[in-house]
C-alpha cells in the first residue's frame, strides 16, 4: 500500500520534473535562433504595424516574412547602440546575410489558406489565430497556439461559413 502511494507520488514528481526540464531545455533552443527578434520592441515600442512587415496579409495567400534586405531599411545603422540584440541584426545587415527564419505558423500543403481571404475579406484579427505577438519579446513563443483543423472548423461553423472539405483541401 505504502509502495503504491510512493509510486504515485514519484510519477507526479517525475511528470512535473520532466515538464520543466524539457521546457527549460527547449527554451535554450531559442538561443539557436538566427536573430533574437522581438515582436514586442517592433510593434509595441516602435508602433510598427503587422502589415508593415508581413506585407502579404491583406493582399496575398501568404503573409510573408521579410528578410535581410527589408530589415536593412531600418537596421543599416545602429538605432540603439547599447542594445546587444540590435548589434546582431546590424552585423547581419552589414554582411547582407539572409536570415534563416523559423516558421511556426504553417498550414500543410494540402490546405488552401489565404490571408487575404481571412484578414481583408473576412475581417479577422491577427490574434484570432496567432497569439498576441505584440507581447512576444523573444522568438520563443509564449502560449503558442497550434493551427489545427478544429480551430478552423469551429470558427467556420460559428460564423456559418462553408465547411465543405473541398473548399479548403485539395
Amino acid at each position: 500500500m505504502k509502495n503504491k502511494l510512493l509510486v504515485f507520488i514519484l510519477i507526479l514528481i517525475g511528470a512535473v520534473a520532466g515538464f520543466f526540464i524539457l521546457s527549460f531545455h527547449s527554451k535554450s533552443s531559442a538561443d539557436n535562433y538566427p536573430v533574437p527578434f522581438s515582436h514586442y520592441v517592433h510593434t509595441t515600442v516602435h508602433k510598427i504595424k503587422c502589415v508593415n512587415c508581413h506585407r502579404g496579409v491583406e493582399t496575398r495567400e501568404l503573409a510573408g516574412i521579410p528578410n535581410i534586405d527589408y530589415c536593412s531599411m531600418c537596421h543599416s545603422t545602429l538605432i540603439n547602440s547599447k542594445s546587444e540584440r540590435e548589434k546582431i541584426i546590424y552585423q547581419l545587415v552589414k554582411e547582407n546575410k539572409p536570415i534563416q527564419w523559423k516558421v511556426y505558423y504553417q498550414v500543410p500543403d494540402y490546405v488552401f489558406f489565404s490571408h487575404r481571404r481571412h484578414v481583408k475579406l473576412g475581417k479577422l484579427e491577427c490574434t484570432d489565430c496567432h497569439v498576441d505577438m505584440t507581447k512576444q519579446d523573444s522568438p520563443d513563443l509564449k502560449g503558442f497556439s497550434q493551427i489545427i483543423m478544429p480551430l478552423c472548423f469551429n470558427c467556420h461553423q460559428r460564423k456559418n461559413i462553408t465547411t465543405d472539405c473541398g473548399d479548403c483541401h485539395h
Binding site: D109, Y110, C165, G166, D167, H169
Partner: protein
Amino acid sequence: MPRYGMIIDLNKCNQCEACITACKLENNVQIVSKENADMGRAMFWMNMLTISYTRNYPDIRSESLPMLCMQCDEPPCIKVCPVRATYKRDDGIVAQIYPQCIGCRYCMANCPYTVKVFNWFKDEQPVENEKTCNPDVSVRPKGVVEKCTFCIHRLQKAKEQAKAEHRKLREEDYVPACAEVCAAQAIHFGDLDDPNSNVSKAMHDYRKFTLQEELGTKPKVYYLSAKTE
C-alpha cells in the same frame, strides 16, 4: 450554385496531348520511375482513350478521347468510399480529400471510367519537375487515391479574387488547366446551369454524347463526336 461541366469537341481535338501534360504539371502529378511505369503505375489524371472504328483499311478512322474524371452527377465512387474521402460538392465537382483517404482503392474499383489513380510510392519527382511544382496544389503522400478535380484550386483562387474585387465569379475566371491550354480550342468549360455559358451553348449539338450513358452515372464531361455524317 453553379454546376460545372465540360464539353470536348472531338472534331476539333487533334490529340496533341497538351491537356495531359498541362494537367500533369498543373496538379503536380507524380512522375513514377521507369520500373513502376512498366508495371502500369504511371499516373495520369488526364489520359487518352483511343477508339478505332471497325471499318476496313484504309477507310478506317480512329478517335482519341481525352479522358478525365467525368465528375458524374451520380458518382459510383462516392457510394463505396468508407470514409467520405471522396464526395460531390454542391457545385457538382467530385472532390477528393487526400488527408482523409485511407487508401482502400474501392473507389478505383468502382469507377467505370478507370480515371482514379493511386500513389503506390511516395512522391519522387525528377529534379526539374520539383522546381516547377505548382505551389497551389499539394503533393500527395503515398497511399492515397487521387483524381482530376477540375483544378479546384483555381476555383478557390478565382472565388477569392472575385470577392476581393466585389464582383461575381465570371466565366473566364475559372478554367481548368486542360481547357486553358487547348490549342484547338476543343475543350469548353463552364456552368452547365447557366444558359449563357460557353458550355451550355455548345451543348445544343446533335453530336453530343457521354461515355457509358447506360450506367446512369450522368457524367458532366460531354463529348461532341468527330463523326459528322
